[in-house]
Assembly symmetry: C2
């Protein structure tokens, strides 16, 4: 089997085993066995266990960027950009739920390069959000980078929460985030679910 095909197959199996057992409990021997190949092949192609994880994350990252930025580009105003981007994000995680949670929450433990890779996922989303917002807020009264950081972190948690509450759709999750960070919590207290005076 040619290298490229074998690599794809290995990453597919690895993603599955990592999701099933968790990174620490997953063994390279088991991954190799399920692929139907010997362990040194994994090391030949990915260097290390961490390298294999990094490859899995990187693939997911490219896909995530693709769907979210496409959703933003297809929208006309900043509010819709944020909303549609959020929907695409929650949809992506729903589609990859079996592996995303593990990949996301476990990468930090592994080592520098995997931690960097998962940070890159967040950085990618942070840049996308703050970059888009910057187009519409020339002189922001607060740092859009750190604001985007809060949004990304909040969405990450909410996505995990949604997995425990499957009745919540990606659109529901996106609306909740919009309500919170777009309109603000103050509107709840002033009994104005949909305030009209800013």
């Amino acid at each position: 089997m040619p290298r490229a095909d074998r690599e794809r197959q290995m990453m597919s199996v690895a993603e599955q085993v990592f999701a099933e057992r968790g990174y620490v409990a997953a063994s390279m021997d088991e991954i190799a066995e399920r692929v139907g190949v010997s362990k040194p092949m994994l090391y030949e192609y990915f260097g290390s266990k961490e390298g294999l994880l990094v490859a899995c994350i990187r693939q997911a990252r490219a896909e995530l960027l693709r769907v979210t930025s496409q959703a933003a580009v297809d929208s006309g105003n900043p509010e819709d950009m944020l909303r549609n981007g959020l929907i695409a994000y929650f949809q992506f995680i729903k589609d990859h739920s079996r592996s995303w949670a593990l990949l996301c929450s476990e990468a930090a433990v592994v080592g520098p390069s995997a931690a960097e890779e998962i940070e890159a996922v967040r950085q990618q989303q942070t840049d996308l959000i703050s970059g888009t917002m910057a187009l519409y807020v020339p002189q922001p009264p607060l740092d859009l980078t750190s604001a985007a950081e809060v949004i990304v972190g909040g969405c990450e948690r909410l996505a995990l929460w949604c997995q425990r509450h499957p009745e919540t759709s990606p659109a529901d999750a996106a609306e909740l985030v919009m309500q919170l960070i777009w309109f603000g919590m103050r509107s709840l207290l002033t009994e104005q679910p949909s305030p009209g005076q800013g």
Copy 2:
């Protein structure tokens, strides 16, 4: 040395080693050596490597609950409760920065019980926030539990961001979160940094 003292000493050293090396790279042999004791003692008192990590997290969790709930109790209205609670939270993480980031981001990888423990930290903060808000919003138009989840996740990320930007004080971080989730991003677009008409 009596057991209770030795346990405290072990947890202190473990927190340090986990923070330095990361959970996976930290070895029980090294922790034992730094404590000046043999490895079986660690297992006698904590059962497993994961058990040792869980003990560290649990201790930090109790302390976090103490400082944040105290800050909320000392405040008069929901806005100040949220703000002062946030300040206490960011201050706590700043004080424990060397270990908090690692403890927090690595627990999930370890296994069920450590993951549960770190989830309990978030649950604790989520309950504190949603419980407090519920007192002031009898019939919320959105689920306060999931809203609190977003806030907790956002703060977690922002806390890590603040570690890379030490010029940001706990009060600054708290204000940023307040601006975002209390007043909403829409106010940025309408050029009203400090809106007064709700």
